[in-house]
Amino acid sequence: MTVYQGNCLRVDLADRKIERGKTPPNGIGARSWNSVTLLNEIPAGIDPFGPENVLCIGVGPLTGSQFIASCRFIASAKSPLTGFLGDSGARGFWAPSLRWSGHDQIVFTGMSDSWVYLFIDDDFVELRDASHLVGLDITETTTRLHDELGDPDLEVAAIGPAGENLVRYAIISCNLARAAGRTGMGAVMGSKKLKAIVVRGSKPVKPVDHERFTKACAEYQQNIETHRQFESRRKYGTTRILDALAEMGVLPAYHYRSAVFEDLKHVGAAALRRDHVVKAKACYNCNVYCSRYNVTQYSEGEGPEYEAQAGFTVKCGNADMEVGVAASNTVNRLGLDCITTAEIIAWLMECRHEGIITDADVDGIDLSWGSNEAIMKLPEMMARREGIGDVLAEGSKRAAQTFGDGARDLTIEVKGLELFSADPRGIKGYGLMNAINSRGGDHYRGEPMIELTGDEELAKKRVGNPNAAHRLLEDGKGALVNYAELLGILSDSITVCKNISNCMDAVDFEVTAEAYSGLLGKEVTRDDLWNACAHVSQVERDFNVREGLTSADDTLPARFKDHPLPDGPAKGTRIDIDRLVKDYYKEKGWDK
């Protein structure tokens, strides 16, 4: 059934033609429409940087409504980093503005021959010259557009130098620090010579059945405010995770060589607030306001979130939090994915530690553990493709070809996408999520957070198996990851923040069905949404299989399978990923 068919703007960058149409009929919002569009419109085997790639930007019917944190847009295209389906979401305030402009999806096709930006002011849409913006970082691009267009309320989603230079893990960013970070969607935007998308929207989102909609919103809000992590998420945001992961013994210290980081107290959430945080920040309509603004001696900016915080400290063996925070600000300005950037730096440090490469291989930059020089300088070189940065801009899987087999064996990626700052050996559900999800090695696709809580009741309620709540057990993880994956698809389609929906278990298919029913004024059931999400999962699998994906790609780096965790609370644990993947396939009804 058609739950909601939105308005689609089709922008042909080659002919500079803009047309209006409808989103695919069989979807429920953002990611669901985008993935169907990619499957329908991208021929197999195309160059992600070629004119045949299609870049979709989607929001959903709930975006910009009263539904808390309905704030994300999803950018999708064939990924230049993985060669498979790429997509990534960004929070902040850009997505609601697109929705208020009366558009639910933008589909960019072709390539422009000169730099342009797209300007949307409700119904008025045009491509404009962006040649004067080339080379500017994301902050400069945004403030320049605000100034020259004379309206500081305009929402800007832009790429930085990294996107312009086709760095394969470049981001699209809005509100200066809100990134669609994974799988290189900013590089696809750069390949199309599209520097920014500027939006002003004023059209109201008005629920058809206001009472029913408001009731669903209130239930959802209640789920958030009664959650036991509500206050700590308000105070620390995702940075609270660092201490939690340390207790579980799954920190990736010194590039996964240890689960123990001796300088934890210098880089944890409390130290961050004590030394650098000056205020809390929020995304659109969010009462958790889990983001923070930092000031350091080097720079200031919003963040870091857990990934930049841990990536530029623990993972690189760096105890200088201030350098880590500054690196976070730097990658945000340059337009680099903080996860991939930090992973590459830490990987190089391990290669140097193992004697596989020397500092001379990276233009003389000091690659010893914790090297401030590496953490501060390498992102600039990657974004501008300077020196060795040109090699590193290709991502770790491709860069390893330059450094040899030894270096390749130490990479931590799945399907070409670098992993997060945690060790999957001690969190089996997360390990499985990283192995199977459609965009490659990534945790946020659908966080199976239940396994971190030990909450057996919740595990029983969601997947019928209390063992799923225990991170070191392999039992029940296929079902858990399938549920988390579908909840992730739901969240990416209704555009809510997964830190709230998945991680706080505050959104489920039932409450969303109520919200959709109220908003749209027609009966939308839990099963309608569940089936739509299961369909999207299959669509994404079909896209990837068409691009050559096999079950051999659904795995984890060898060290997690073959080598037990060397120390810490989860010492001795390995992950039997083949068994877990089989369990997941069974859940899906796939034979391979």
Partner: protein, 171 residues
């Protein structure tokens, strides 16, 4: 009237959402009588609405459609209003909205402002007897959004000074 604590405002815009929902059962910044000025490059967010200023330049309405109500709020006589937008342009801090040919004034929601009720950080407070002067903002030229940012920037100066002098939120 409603004032915003610059240090506490996290820029979530829940106030805008609540305002639109209260008055129109719908959400859009264009429907809101309170607007958050976001200056991302310096980390500043300030919710701006009518502060009941001493000067009240909006009252110089060519059709005398505006008056001051019991709680100090501006009251619009829709019969007299021609939608000329003079009041919108006269406000030195850009606190008057305009939608569907009508100016939008903070009406304090009849006494219990929805924005103050929803604000998750208690950054918004009602100050009944305050009539702050906005004289220093009157020279500034621009559209309402620019005026709000100008106002927010000046409001934020002491907060920014504090940050740059080393003040932190603390663990």
């Amino acid at each position: 009237m409603i004032l915003c604590d610059v240090q506490k405002c996290v820029g979530c815009r829940m106030c805008e959402v609540a305002c639109g929902d209260f008055h129109f059962d719908a959400v859009s910044p264009a429907l809101s009588r309170i607007r958050v000025a976001k200056i991302e490059e310096i980390g500043i967010d300030v919710a701006v609405t009518c502060v009941g200023c001493a000067e009240k330049p909006c009252l110089e309405c060519p059709t005398e459609a505006l008056s001051v109500g019991d709680r100090g709020e501006i009251v619009l006589d829709e019969e007299l209003c021609t939608g000329c937008e003079e009041c919108v342009n006269s406000c030195p801090i850009g606190a008057i909205g305009f939608y569907d040919d009508n100016p939008l004034y903070c009406d304090l929601c009849g006494g219990t402002p929805a924005c103050v009720m929803i604000c998750p950080t208690e950054a918004l407070v009602v100050e009944q007897d305050l009539e702050p002067s906005l004289e220093q903002f009157q020279e500034f030229e621009g559209i309402p959004a620019q005026k709000r940012v100008n106002y927010a920037k000046i409001q934020a100066e002491p907060v920014r000074e504090k940050w740059l002098a080393g003040w932190r939120l603390g663990p």
